[in-house]
Amino acid sequence: MAVDSPGEFLLGKVDEVARWAQSSSVWPLTMGLACCAIEMMTATAPEYDMARLGSEVFRASPRQADLMIVSGRLAQKMAPIIKRLYDQMADPKWVISMGACASSGGVFDNYAIVQGVDTVIPVDVYMPGCPPTPDGLLYAVNLIQQQIRQGGRGGIFARA
């Protein structure tokens, strides 16, 4: 990659290191809504063990979390709360929409369910499944890690 000055090269290296650090320690928010939340918990259980990807702890406070895994169906009453939690998370932040209900409303095409959380918050990775298996969630976190390393949203120079 052509660089104009040694300064730019160094900044580029710092950015890479920062992205590697961020992608290796993605801490999710405990945002469990319904059945997918149980599979999210199972993904931290011994058989699937999300901790080895860096998600060692799930932070209860949105201020301390990087990743919001919206796991489960989003009801109309809960929608403003999810938006508020997303706003409370500090940048850089990412969102996985886990399961069919979070991605598109799922089996519930009715008055009560928001047809996709991406109508309320921006989503980085969509996961199909009802519920998806925990190794699917591991793959989704892998995709988030790839997104972090490749830049775009997030990175050391994050945009809001």
Binding site: T30, C35, A45, A75, K77, M78, P80, D109, I113, V120
Partner: protein
């Protein structure tokens, strides 16, 4: 939010659904909103708590944050399709929901006697496995709420074996949709019984480990004994069922009192205790897991061969193998899938003993190929209501203990 814009914008102040007026403000007291996003509320529950120092003076649970409109969806789906959405109510033990609904529809059809014995036994087997799996989640998350993180891993590993069996028989870990009106979707696959035997063999050592870790743990005992005491009269007045009722001394278990699906043939005890506190509910659920394993062992020993679907083409699909060789079977299958069958008009109340209590469905049919109404009797909702009463006078730190001991599942509370 008006019905014209169903997607609400974020409000600048507190979310509009939070009614602070229900909890009085007194300058000495603080109003604390626990939830709906909280690691220990077991789902989306908001408890508007008024506290005086650390003592709770008033607690008002707010539900509805997971209202899915499942009952309205069920009215617009065929009889066979409705069990898919109904399974997602109590998502920790989906097979109990499906079984209760299917028993109700079979009563309306008048074909309860046509369900073959093997199908009934497998239904009992899977329901008891679901009960153990649900109690594993309760045990693991209950431990986490109190800081006992290791128990979670052991409990969820036990649950994995059960989900493996679900996946093997039904195809999916959590919502297998394996039960059908008239029997089962398909026979147990090869390897199921071997895995079941392996599970039965590993259960006792694993439960011993969990009991050693949690039951005799002095910190757990200190936090749970004499917390959230429910008297028997209160339990009956508030409509509690399941382990919450039995821990207060009332020996009511739907499997014994109104047996279904062959439960009268199995030998098991109804576990009761009299103290009515959180520790009593804890012990009742642990002992219930052992009783469930007892039933599973009996089913395994006495499992008969034979068909797994009722012998009546009016409400069952033709066997899959016949579709390739018979045009009439193919047409019948097509009509079954695209139009479903009709259920005679009438209403029925069907109840099973779910892990949380008496799960019931009041099903109304008007003769059509879709249910007219499926009303759920949600045990978690009635169990959770009593929080208003038992939280008063306890410490704020006991709130998570009480919620955990009532074991609500919000898919069922909010539907």
């Amino acid at each position: 939010m008006s019905v014209d814009s169903p997607i609400p914008a974020a409000a600048p102040g507190p979310p509009p659904s939070m009614s602070m007026d229900v909890v009085e403000r007194d300058h000495n007291r603080m109003v604390l909103s626990i939830g709906p996003q909280h690691p220990s509320t077991h789902g989306v529950l908001q408890v508007l708590t008024e506290i005086d120092g650390e003592v709770i003076t008033r607690a008002e649970p707010e539900i509805g944050y997971l209202h899915t409109g499942i009952e309205k969806s069920a009215e617009n789906l065929f009889w066979t399709q409705a069990s898919t959405v109904i399974e997602r109510m109590d998502y920790l033990s989906p097979l109990s929901n499906a079984l209760c609904y299917i028993l109700g529809v079979e009563k309306l059809l008048g074909v309860t006697d046509l369900v073959p014995e093997r199908a009934q036994q497998v239904r009992v087997l899977l329901c008891e496995l679901s009960r153990i799996a649900s109690h594993c989640v309760w045990l693991g998350t209950g431990g986490i709420d109190l800081g006992a993180l290791s128990g979670f891993f052991y409990a969820f590993d036990l649950r994995e074996r059960i989900l493996d069996l679900n996946e093997l028989s039904g195809g999916a870990r959590m919502h297998p949709n394996y039960l059908r009106i008239g029997g089962l979707r398909d026979d147990l696959p090869a390897g199921f019984l071997d895995r079941l035997d392996a599970l039965i063999a590993m259960y006792k050592p694993r439960m011993n480990e969990l009991r050693n870790l949690l039951q005799s743990n002095p910190i757990l005992q200190d936090r749970m004994i004499d917390v959230g005491i429910i008297s028997a009269d209160d339990a009956i007045a508030w409509g509690l069922t399941g382990p919450c009722l039995r821990a207060s001394g009332v020996a009511y278990d739907v499997r014994k009192t109104f047996p279904y699906s062959g439960y009268e043939n199995y030998d098991f005890d109804v576990v009761t205790r009299t103290e009515g506190d959180a520790y009593a509910r804890f012990l009742v659920r642990l002992d219930e897991m052992d009783q469930s394993m007892r039933i599973i062992e009996q089913v395994r020993k006495n499992l008969v061969g034979g068909p797994i679907m009722a012998d009546d083409t009016k409400f069952t699909p033709p066997p899959k193998e016949t579709i390739a060789v018979s045009m009439e079977a193919l047409i019948h299958h097509f009509k079954y899938v695209s139009e479903s069958f009709r259920v005679p008009p009438g209403d029925v109340y069907s109840a099973v003993e779910g892990p949380r209590g008496e799960l019931g469905y009041y099903i109304v049919s008007n003769g059509d190929n879709r249910p007219w109404r499926v009303r759920t009797r949600p045990p978690s909702m009635y169990n959770l209501q009593i929080l208003k009463q038992i939280a008063v006078g306890e410490l704020i730190a006991d709130m998570v203990v009480m919620i955990g001991s009532l074991d609500p599942v919000f898919g069922e509370v909010d539907r």
